[in-house]
Symmetry: C2
Subunit: 335 residues, 2 copies
């Protein structure tokens, strides 16, 4: 198996001509979770966003030791306009790798591919893993694992996992964040976009990403999708079986009525807990729910806090909003 690629920091964050925080959310994620890896920002004329890093030219970035230009914005339509290709070639010529979470593959652009070959630098398309994974074995591995699961896509699984990982490191607990989606991979510099893996190998890719570890080491794993999502449940189940978590956290957005991009109703928390336990036992016989992470951004502070208290009583599990309350109650309970 080809080693899982690692993106080398420090990063220069390329913002293109992003007009708002949504278009540049990848860059904001990197600055939030890995500030010490982010050396500067590169903005094209007309860019309407400032992520608070020093503006750097590609030459300045190379001189200051930057190793990778990360595409930190989503171009409209997902394609790569010619105006962005020129600075990317300059970056390769200056000795930088390029990392991208776009759907379009950098390596499919002939000019970029030629420049990468000429300079010996890497085009790291995190949505297009190049590793060949083996079929999963289902064998138990040493070490402890916690997975964030969800009632839907985009409910805070990555955020919750990163927050728990940070909380463990602050306490001096040995822990590794395991990224399973493109933004998580760019933040961490390492990981596999699980939804881009061929179905036969998805659980195997999860096994490869979370190998046997010291018995008191924690892998904190970003989950994907939802076991009840009509389009993405296969990814959720491959992640669950392959990572074989001891514990899971259910992430939920309480104001949502239907699941992302489909008309199916949102499953409830109890249903996701039960399904995750039932299915998870195939590879982790003692799997259990260790808490709830509620994204209350669409509620006011009082309503959010009341809901969290109510759910905590109802499920008899630690319940948090990682932004409003932090994740300490969950970490405190499972350690």
């Amino acid at each position: 198996m080809r080693e899982i690629e690692r993106i080398e920091s420090p990063y220069l964050l390329f913002l293109g001509n992003a007009q708002d925080v949504i278009m540049a959310k990848t860059a904001f994620g990197l600055v939030e979770w890995r500030p010490s890896d982010c050396a500067g920002q590169l903005r094209l004329p007309g860019c309407g966003v400032d992520i608070g890093l020093p503006d750097m030219s590609i030459g300045e970035a190379a001189q200051s030791g930057v190793n990778t230009l990360v595409i930190g914005f989503a171009p409209p339509g997902g394609a790569l306009p010619e105006a962005y290709v020129v600075p990317l070639i300059q970056a390769l010529d200056a000795g930088l790798d390029i990392a991208s979470g776009l759907h379009v593959r950098l390596a499919d652009n002939p000019a970029l591919a030629e420049a990468a070959a000429r300079t010996g630098r890497r085009l790291i398309d995190v949505r297009h893993p190049r590793e060949n994974f083996a079929v999963a074995t289902g064998a138990r591995r040493t070490g402890k694992r916690l997975l964030t699961v969800g009632t839907d896509c985009a409910v805070g699984k990555k955020f919750t996992a990163l927050a728990i990982h940070s909380a463990l490191l602050r306490r001096g607990v040995a822990a590794t964040f395991r990224a399973t989606g493109q933004t998580g991979i760019l933040i961490d510099g390492h990981g596999v976009a699980m939804d881009a893996v061929v179905s036969d190998f998805i659980a195997g890719a999860a096994e490869a990403q979370s190998p046997a570890a010291a018995v008191d080491h924690w892998d904190i794993i970003e989950g994907q999708g939802s076991l009840m999502h009509p389009a993405f449940a296969a990814v959720s189940l491959g992640v669950l079986h392959g990572f074989q978590p001891d514990l899971f956290i259910v992430c939920h957005e309480p104001t949502r009525k239907t699941m992302t991009a489909v008309s199916a109703p949102l499953p409830n928390i109890a249903e996701i807990i039960e399904l995750t336990e039932r299915l998870g036992r195939a590879t982790s016989p003692d799997i259990r729910c260790a808490g709830l992470s509620i994204n209350t951004a669409n509620l006011d502070d009082a309503a959010g806090r009341t809901l969290i208290e109510d759910l905590q009583s109802q499920f008899n599990l630690p319940c948090v909003d990682p932004i409003r309350t932090g994740v300490e109650p969950i970490v405190e309970a499972f350690l």
Copy 2:
């Protein structure tokens, strides 16, 4: 989306130098289920198998109207020895397509790729779908659908689906077999190897394969793997969600203790019924189990029939062995 490829019959079944029925099981499957599509067999010197079709040279096959040479055997190790490449090039030169369910991609062999380009014939690698599928929508489609699911891999899901499909056609019911694995695709000439689809698109590939149909038309769908299989459950769940079956049949091999290729214990029938119903409701709210298909080949006739009667009482569902009893009791019950 690229149209799902169709393999054109009649077929010449290439047996290479297969030494036994196991090595040639694909060819035996084609002759069993689609005898009128199979015109002849092509055997290399030393071949130890006879599937009962006329021996034909490639020239004779082309003259008698054969459209496709199907690789009906598994070469040891899965690679394609040079001795097999020469007749394959002759087949392309004679105007035949070639269809293969091998892991190795015919199109990756430079001599074959060159010959296919020169002759304008197709190399159809059914394990390597070339279609680009969309993400699933989860929307309900008209028509009726039945899916075979299993407690494990290789318990009779394909066989049961083919048998139910045949029984429906005998009764004059409009029905289409939907193949989801390489042998099923070669038998039917049409289908998608679901385990070879990128995870993000697996439910979408199932939706594409089973479009809206007349309200009384049945799609009879070959399932894959098992929802509790540590390596392949993601494929099983993508198939379940995308095909949105109204009915499912649980296939089971009662003497097996552990699941294929792993040490995990075999799940029981009740567990698979409950999980299939729970998860299946995401796209098919009224999904229900319509019967059990028990592969009793490893029991003697009396023990097999007793077990079938016992399970029928226990679950209050029609229970068959498609070989010992036929599938009529299931078809009779659900029509």
